[in-house]
Structure formats: structure tokens, C-alpha cells
Subunit: 235 residues, 2 copies
């Protein structure tokens, strides 16, 4: 059976990433996963182990180019990135700023560079933003800085001569809280009807991939969930 | 003669930093300089040589604490940071993203952390922003990301419980083009009447330090120069 297309999920073994890998596989897409751990559902796994941005890029780029053999990707979904709290006085401030940069920005920078090489014309790139970082985040400063950089990167990629293929689009996804197993575990008493379901996002990605319901290029796509229903607010 | 106060200039050997060191010294301030090279005009030099954020912080923090012996700073002016062009496809994209982060964000993170320890109540912290990074910067993507992170850091520091001392304020300075010897050398045919003079900035810093003409806490202070006259636009 011929593949319907090819997508890459950066962070493909995380909660949201795994959901995306499964969803696109069920739609008969070839799916590549980039993560620190292999996702057995993916057709190709690129394992990230390097300790510098350049090392990580090299290990991913080579394996992807070898596998694609010139075939183009319909989309790259970067859903990598962690969370860390802490204000400017906290003992772990420097470490958290460093960690957040590596987790959210290195992955976004590599995904953007891969998009310039392997995304097809009119393809889709999504990057991992965060709704709180559109303003100050005094209680999680390192996290906010990294996400603000991702938001601005998204605007840059949508600009003229950004290096993306013709008619390709870049979006940042700005969830407030995702409905993940870990969040259910650690925030069990929170109002979970305001959490965004992961399959809402994977289906949104699928629609974008098909050319349906795409926001304006460069949009920061804030996802506001209320009573289990999610609306998009475009920034 | 008693000192009028104490300030720290991060990037104190650069063009703007040197101007600030001289200006505050002429006003009878104690001036500390942080840079890769010593500024002989400064009362204390902290030389940055480490290759990680933590190493750089340690070499600066220890020397500063030893010298201040509990005395507080009136202001910390971070004017460090370089420039690099390149879109997402450029060969040097990853390197430029890395370099810009280290130059603008590491310095800002360390300056912010120093401010939580050594700035006096009601003191001033300035961070090095950039006007173009308030929107996308497709031709200088690494630069834009780093500056966007600095802008968001400024908003975070102005928020509640950011870790800054009571009533301290944080601003980002967003020049468009500075009137520096290097810019005169490399852009000799540009319209230099739109370039912001460095002594405008050092005098603005002095006023803020004295409590005069301070913008709202967390302001991004865009400097728009026309016919040699500079106006501030607060974002």
C-alpha cells in the first residue's frame, strides 16, 4: 500500500509525540521519530545523544538524509521540550535557563534547519511554544525565555527569505496545559476540563498537513480548552 | 572623596560599555567591568573566560562578592552581545544561534542573578535588547531569538516575585543602530543621523540611576534617532 505522505515528529517518544506518531501511522503516513529513546511505532528512529547542538544535528541529519534518499516530508512537528520553574534568585536559575534552551530551542533550531532541506513546497513546520511566555513568567524564567525565543523563531520562519521551501508554513503551538498521563498524575486535583486533549492536537496537525484549516503563516496558535472543548486563538 | 554610588557594566570594554564606564567614573561612581578584556578605567575588572554558563557565573560572582563585601550596587548595565546574520538554511545557522545565545542571553542571565544578590532596593538593571527582534528577523534568525529571549526575561524580572530586590526595576534597551566606531567603519555610507549616540545612552543610564525619568518597570525601551535627536518608544 502506497504511503499517504511522510512526517517527522521531534520528541516522538513523549506523550504528545507518541500520540502524533500513532495518529499519522493510522493514516498510512511514513513517520520518523526523533527522541532520546526509540519509538517502536515509528518507521525510522533518530536517537539524540550528543551534548552539543552541532552533535545532535549531525546524528539526526545524517540518518534522516540516508533514509529519505531525496523524498520530501509533508510536515515536521516539533513537540520536544520540558518544563522547569524558578525565579532569578533560585539556586537552579542558571541550570534551568540552560536546560530549557537545550530542550526547546535546540530542537526547534534543528527542526527548522531540517525543514529547509527536507520539507516539501507548501509543507508544514510546527514548533513548541507556550501560552504563558507571551508575557513575563517570573516564576519560571528559564522556561519563558526559551519559549519566547521559539515564538520569535516562528515569526522569523514565516518571513521573506527565511530559508523554508516555497509556500511552506511555520506555526508555534501554545498549549496552556496538556492532558497527559504525567499531568494527571502530578496535578490530579486540578480542573482537567480545561486541559487540551492530545488527540485534538494530532488531528489538528493532520488537517494542517492535508492543507485544511491552516492559520496564517507564522501564527502562534494558542489552544484554549473549556469544558473539554478547545478553541484556537491566533497570535 | 566619597563615592556617589556603585555600578556594574557587563560588556564594559565594548564601545557602549566603555562609554558607560567613563561616564559613571566622571560622575564619581565606583565602576566594575565584566568583559573578556580588562578596562583600565574601571575600579574592578571581572574577566570572563569560561566556556559554560556556570563557569562564567562562578568567575564573575566570586570576584564581585569579594570586592563589594556586602556593599550594594545602584545599577547593573548589561550591554554585552554581538550580532550575526543568517537564515534557517545558512551554513552557519546552528553556530550563530549558539553564539548569539551565549553572548546576549548568558550575560543577561548572569546579570539578572547578580542583581538578585547585589543590587540595592530600588536599583536598576538594564539588559541588551534589539528593536528588530520585536518582530520576525528572517535574515538574522539566531540573533532575533536571543534578543526575543532577553525581552521576555525583562518582562519576567518586572513581575511579582521575580527575585529582584524590592522596588528594583528592569529595562531592556532596544537600539536600532548605535553610533559606534565599528558601525562608522563598516557602514560608512549609511545615514548616520539615524544612529543613536552612545553618550545619549550613558546619560540616560545615569538619570535612571538617580531615579529620574524612569520608564515603567519591565519596559522595552526602543531608541529612535532622527536628525541626530533620539526619542524613546516604550514597548
Amino acid at each position: 500500500m502506497a504511503t499517504q505522505g511522510r512526517v517527522l515528529v521531534y520528541g516522538g517518544k513523549g506523550a504528545l509525540g507518541s500520540t502524533c506518531v500513532s495518529h499519522f501511522k493510522s493514516k498510512n503516513f511514513w513517520v520518523g521519530s526523533i527522541d532520546r529513546i526509540s519509538n517502536d511505532d515509528a518507521h525510522l528512529n533518530m536517537i539524540v545523544s550528543g551534548s552539543t547542538l552541532q552533535e545532535q544535528d549531525e546524528e539526526i541529519s545524517k540518518k534522516l538524509a540516508d533514509s529519505l534518499q531525496g523524498e520530501k516530508l509533508d510536515a515536521i512537528f516539533c513537540v520536544a521540550g520540558g518544563w522547569a520553574g524558578g525565579n532569578a534568585k533560585s539556586k537552579e536559575f542558571l541550570k534551568s535557563a540552560d536546560d530549557m534552551w537545550k530542550q526547546s530551542v535546540w530542537s526547534s533550531v534543528i527542526a527548522s534547519n531540517l525543514a529547509t532541506k527536507h520539507l516539501k513546497e507548501g509543507g508544514v513546520l510546527t514548533l513548541p511554544g507556550a501560552a504563558p511566555a507571551t508575557d513575563g513568567t517570573p516564576g519560571m524564567i528559564g522556561y519563558g525565555m526559551a519559549k519566547a525565543a521559539v515564538h520569535q523563531l516562528t515569526k522569523s520562519l514565516a518571513g521573506k527569505n527565511s530559508g523554508l521551501p516555497a509556500n511552506a508554513v511555520a506555526f508555534a503551538t501554545l498549549p496552556i496545559t496538556l492532558d497527559t498521563p504525567n499531568n494527571r498524575k502530578w496535578m490530579s486535583t486540578a480542573d482537567q476540563t480545561t486541559w487540551t486533549p492530545m488527540d485534538f492536537i494530532s488531528e489538528m496537525f493532520y488537517k494542517w498537513c492535508q492543507g485544511d484549516e491552516r492559520p496564517a503563516n507564522g501564527s502562534l496558535v494558542k489552544m484554549v480548552t473549556k469544558d473539554g472543548k478547545t478553541d484556537l486563538v491566533l497570535l
